[in-house]
C-alpha cells in the first residue's frame, strides 16, 4: 500500500526504515490465539479432570432405599448380590464427603448408615454412652444399627478416603470391595468351650516362657546387635581401693592474700607510681617532664 502509484507524495524518510516493520505483523496474532486456545483447552481439561460433577440427588434417594429385598434370610452380613452391585457401582463415583452425606441421609430416614443393612439405627439417648470398650458419643453410635455395621460402612469410607484405582472399560475407577465377614463362631457345646479354654491357657503358659527370650531377641535386633545375645560383652565392676573422705578446696597461703578477691588478684591501680600521681593526671609522660 505504501508503495502506491505516482500521485502519492514522496516521503522524506529513508526507505529501509519504512520497509522493515511490515513482516512482523502477521505472526503475533496466531501466536496470541494459540496461547489463548491453549489456555482454554487446559482449563477445559482441568474442568473435566478435577471438578467432578456432584452426585445427582436421585442416586442418594435410591441408595437410601436399599436394600430393596427385605427377607429374614438376608442381612447386612449376607446382602443380596443385586444390591451389592448397585451400591458399589454408585459409590465408586462418590467423594468421601458425599459418602458421609449418604450415611446422614440414611440416618434421617431412621435406617442404619450402612447402605446394605435393612435394620433401623440405634437410638440411644443422652450425649454420651458408656460401653464395654469405653465412652462414646451417642451421635456416633446412633449412626449405625450395630458395631459390625459401623465397621462395614467405615471399611468403604476408608477405601474412598485413600482410593486405589483399577482400570475398567478404559477408565480409572476407584476399587471398592465389601468388608469380609468374620466367620461367626458356630454355637458350641459348653464342654467344648471349657476344653478350648484349657487349651488356650496351656498355650499361654508355654508362650510365657518363650516370651522373655523373644523379647530379648527383638530388643537386641532393635539395638542393632546382629549376633543376638551371644555377642554380649562381659562387664565387671571394680570398686576403687583407697577412698579418703572428701576435702573442701583450700586457698594457698600467700603474702598478699589480703589482695585477693574471690581468688583473683587485682593488678589495677596498685603499682608504685600510682601513689604519686593524682587521678586526673592523664597526660602522656613526654609532656610530664
Amino acid at each position: 500500500m505504501s508503495t502506491a502509484p505516482a500521485p502519492a507524495p514522496r516521503g522524506i524518510l529513508k526507505k529501509a526504515a519504512v520497509a522493515a516493520p511490515p513482516p512482523a505483523e502477521p505472526t503475533p496474532l496466531p501466536r496470541e490465539q494459540q496461547i489463548t486456545l491453549h489456555q482454554a483447552q487446559q482449563l477445559q481439561r482441568r474442568l473435566e479432570e478435577e471438578i467432578k460433577p456432584p452426585v445427582p440427588i436421585e442416586t442418594f434417594e435410591r441408595l437410601t432405599q436399599l436394600p430393596r429385598v427385605r427377607r429374614p434370610s438376608l442381612s447386612a452380613a449376607r446382602p443380596p448380590p443385586d444390591d451389592v452391585r448397585e451400591f458399589l457401582n454408585a459409590v465408586q463415583d462418590f467423594l468421601p464427603r458425599e459418602y458421609s452425606d449418604l450415611i446422614e441421609e440414611r440416618n434421617c430416614m431412621g435406617s442404619c448408615g450402612y447402605a446394605l443393612c435393612p435394620r433401623p439405627r440405634r437410638s440411644y439417648e443422652g450425649e454420651y454412652k458408656i460401653l464395654k470398650t469405653g465412652i462414646a458419643k451417642t451421635a456416633d453410635l446412633n449412626m449405625w444399627c450395630s458395631d459390625e455395621c459401623a465397621r462395614r460402612a467405615l471399611y468403604i469410607k476408608v477405601q474412598l478416603d485413600n482410593p486405589s484405582y483399577i482400570r475398567k472399560d478404559g477408565q480409572m475407577v476407584v476399587k471398592l470391595e465389601l468388608r469380609e465377614e468374620e466367620p461367626k463362631s458356630s454355637p458350641q457345646k459348653p464342654k467344648d468351650k471349657v476344653d478350648e479354654l484349657a487349651k488356650t491357657l496351656e498355650q499361654l503358659e508355654v508362650d510365657k516362657k518363650t516370651q522373655t527370650t523373644k523379647d530379648a531377641a527383638s530388643l537386641a535386633a532393635e539395638r542393632g546387635d546382629v549376633g543376638g545375645l551371644a555377642r554380649q560383652v562381659e562387664v565387671t565392676i571394680h570398686e576403687k581401693s583407697d577412698v579418703a573422705p572428701a576435702k573442701a578446696p583450700e586457698p594457698e597461703q600467700e603474702a598478699d592474700m589480703h589482695l585477693f578477691i574471690e581468688g583473683h588478684k587485682m593488678t589495677f591501680g596498685i603499682d608504685k607510681d600510682s601513689d604519686e600521681e593524682s587521678d586526673d593526671d592523664y597526660l602522656p609522660s613526654t609532656i610530664r617532664l
Binding site: 440427588i57 434417594e61 437410601t64 446422614e104 441421609e105 440416618n107 434421617c108 431412621g110
Partner: protein
C-alpha cells in the same frame, strides 16, 4: 411427678413454638405480604386453643399458613417493562409457610415433599421451619429448585426472637429495581462499587434478599439525625 415434668416440658415447647409462630408472621408481614394484625399478634391462649393436642403438646403439622402479596409488594417486585416483554409479571406471589413435624434431622424426602407441595399449589415462595438442621443433600434440593420456587428454611430456635426488634439493628428497606437503578445513576456507581451484605446474613435471611438486590439501611446518627447507607446482597 413424671406428669408434672412432661407438662412443664410441653409448656416450654408451646411457648417456644408460639414465639416462632409470631416471629414468622412478623417476618412475612415485613416482607410485604398481606397479614392482618390479629393474625400476627396471636396471644398464647389462642395459639394453644388452635394448635394444642388433647395432652397439651403442639401439633406442628397443623401449623401452616399462606399469605398473598400486597399491592405495594407486587408493584415493587415487577420488573420494568422492556420492548421484548411489555407486560412483565411480578416476581412476588403467594407464600406458603409450614412447620415441619419431623423431629430428627431433615432428609431429602421431607424436603422434596415440601417443594412438591409448593409447586403443586402454585406458591411462588415457601418457608419451611424445622426443629432440626437439614441434611446436606436436603439443602441441595432446596438450592436446585431455586429457579421456580423460592424455598427458604429456618430453624425454630432462630425465630424465637425477632431480630429486627433489637435496638442495635437498624431499619433495612429492600429497594425495587427502579429504585436501585436510580441509586446507581444518582451516585454514578456500578453495582460492585456498593458495600455488600451476605445473603446468609440474618437480616438478609429475614427479608429474603436475593443476590443482586440492594437494601437501604437507615441508622440514627448523633450528628446527622438519620444516615442511610446501601448494601448490595451477594
Amino acid at each position: 411427678m413424671e406428669e408434672e415434668g412432661s407438662s412443664s416440658m410441653h409448656a416450654r415447647e408451646t411457648s417456644r413454638l408460639w414465639r416462632a409462630w409470631r416471629t414468622v408472621h412478623e417476618m412475612v408481614q415485613d416482607r410485604g405480604y398481606e397479614l392482618s394484625d390479629e393474625e400476627v399478634r396471636v396471644p398464647l391462649e389462642q395459639f394453644k386453643r388452635e394448635f394444642a393436642d388433647a395432652d397439651g403438646s403442639i401439633m406442628r403439622g397443623k401449623m401452616q399458613f399462606s399469605a398473598r402479596p400486597s399491592e405495594a409488594m407486587i408493584k415493587k417486585f415487577t420488573p420494568p417493562p422492556t420492548p421484548g416483554n411489555p407486560n412483565p409479571q411480578s416476581e412476588a406471589g403467594t407464600i406458603w409457610v409450614e412447620f415441619c413435624p419431623e423431629k430428627s434431622s431433615i432428609g431429602i424426602g421431607v424436603m422434596k415433599k415440601f417443594v412438591q407441595h409448593c409447586s403443586a399449589n402454585n406458591f411462588k415462595a415457601g418457608i419451611l421451619i424445622t426443629a432440626a438442621p437439614l441434611s446436606p443433600q436436603a439443602r441441595k434440593v432446596m438450592t436446585v429448585t431455586q429457579h421456580y420456587t423460592q424455598i427458604e428454611c429456618f430453624m425454630e430456635e432462630d425465630l424465637l426472637v425477632n431480630i429486627t426488634h433489637h435496638e442495635l439493628v437498624p431499619k433495612h428497606i429492600v429497594l425495587s429495581r427502579e429504585e436501585k437503578m436510580a441509586l446507581l445513576k444518582r451516585y454514578r456507581l456500578k453495582e460492585t462499587q456498593l458495600p455488600r451484605i451476605l445473603s446468609k446474613d440474618p437480616i438478609a435471611r429475614y427479608l429474603g434478599l436475593k443476590r443482586g438486590q440492594v437494601v437501604k439501611i437507615v441508622r440514627t446518627s448523633e450528628t446527622a439525625g438519620r444516615y442511610a447507607s446501601y448494601r448490595l446482597c451477594v
